[in-house]
Amino acid sequence: MKIGVCVKVAPDTDTRIKISGDGAGIEESGIKWIVSPYDSFGIEEAVQTQEAQGGEVILFSAGPKDWQTQLRAGGLAVGAERAVIVDDPALAGTDPLGIARVLAAGIASEGCELVFTGKQAIDDDNVQVPAMVAELLGWPHVSFVTDFSTDGSTFTATRNVGGGTQEVVTGSLPVVITAERGLNTPRYAKLPAIMKAKRKKVDVKSLGDLDLSADDITPAVQLTNFSLPPERPAGRKLEGDVDTMVQELVRLLREEAKVI
């Protein structure tokens, strides 16, 4: 079974984001780039599934070919077999639907039967691409999955629906699964695997290679202006004995924060 994983490369979680001079993006120099953490859960689940069922794990990215550094470290060094990066100038201004079209075309061209993605990327937090990929492929999709199993033709996926309730979804492959924290614990890349990943194959493709053109990914949404959230005011320390502090806290929560 060919198992696909959609992977985005994003700034490391403790990056201090700065807005670029023209206000239309972020300052990219000095950023440490990593595989978006939810995608790492997707990769781990794909590799575990491959270990149980056989087959091959293929990574798919729509982005600059330089992402191969992170794809090797965070994917090929932890068990994925190869990667496909679609790098095309037209991708720069596209939107989630454009990205989904590219990923779906890549997945279709490889004949995958099961696809994992993170539930969202940690940079834009759009939570749109996975559902769009599924729709474009004509596959079902289960989101925010915390437990998954498959026998190679059917699957069972558990998702948290809030308030402690869990939903168990069963069906048959193919399917797109989006990974929530808790699905698994991603393994560490082992040193020999890091050395081996150096020689694994990364295909860099253009839109044309997937029979797509720039027109197919013309954005419906354009990002024009970025701003940082307002700075958080300093914390306040309540003084006095416990009773006074609790009373004051309740008053503040009610009157100032207006949350109770």
């Binding site: 550094t69 090797r72 470290a73 060094a77 560490y188 890349a189 082992k190 040193l191 020999p192 695997a193 890091i194 050395m195 150096k198």
Partner: protein, 383 residues
Amino acid sequence: MQFPPWTEEHAQLRDTVKQYAINELAPHRFDWDKAGEYPAREVFKQLADLGCLGIRFDPEYGGLGLDWWSTVAFIEGLSHCRNAGLMMSILVDTDMATPIISEIGTDEQKREFLAPTITGEKIAALGVTEPGAGSDVANIRTTAKRDGDDYVINGQKTYITNGAIADYITLAVRTGGEGHGGISLVLFPTDTPGFSVGRKLDKLGTRSVDSCEIHFDNCRIPRRNLLGHENAGFLYIMQNFQGERLVAGIMAYTGMEIAVADAIKYGQERQAFGRPLASFQVWKHKFAEHLAAIEAAKALTFQAVQKIESGQDPTKLVSMVKLHCGDLAQRVTYDCLQIHGGYGFIEEYDIARQYRDVRLLTIGGGASEVMKEIIWKWHSLGG
């Protein structure tokens, strides 16, 4: 040319070890330091599984056959465990007791000792120092007398890191006459009858691992456990010291980098007189000075690594690294504690432990004064 010659793989190696150290080791640093021990078997198994225990060793025996820069990357990553005692225990195994086996051991010795060390099944210690001979290695008194196909060993060693947990010891013994011409190195299995672990020493720092006295009472080991040539041990020990001291230098600068980053962060958060401590010029200048000095220490260390990599004799440079990094760590850690004020004196922040731990850096593996002797000797010889 890029210097140091990091590749993407070096960076990835460091990152994966760093993640492991942060997630699996660092959370236990206070507990292990207090307990005076750590679950060594488990940790060595995990490290072996990650592929960390044979970085430069021959793939024939399970190693990865990588370069010294990979060792640098490994130690930089491992330093995020924030526990110098734990690091010392691991690095004694990977870089102090075993490289000499890899360099001069027989195939049989490598299969019996090196291979199971790389898989984490055996833990190694290095036994040189004795109650009566530390800096003066040529003066050791533990004897190994030939008896048929065996050596019979008598004597004692002290301060031996991993002494209570090791499966074998790369051991310096006297096989010949007085002085440095009568010393040999042997591989000593700790299940040999007559071997015993004495006092576990109550140390100022590096408390997560034991350093102890060990005793040899008519211990019989086969003569095939002799490393290299008989009575050539002093040379091997000096050769082995170079890697050990370089590793100490790498540990020192990585430790300083972490301590300074912590101290600056603390200084930015802690308010006094209506402003963050770190906004006082005296602290800005102090840390600017330390950042510059650490960068210089690192550059010196990298130069020594390059020398070792290129196969040249690194003794003078390595001695400079050990001297410079060890001494600098004292001053840097002193200031890092100072900015913490009273909190720095309490075992709640890392700095109290780091302050205790770095004290060893000018003593263990060759005191600063001994480094100066070596540097001067090489310098006056025009080396």
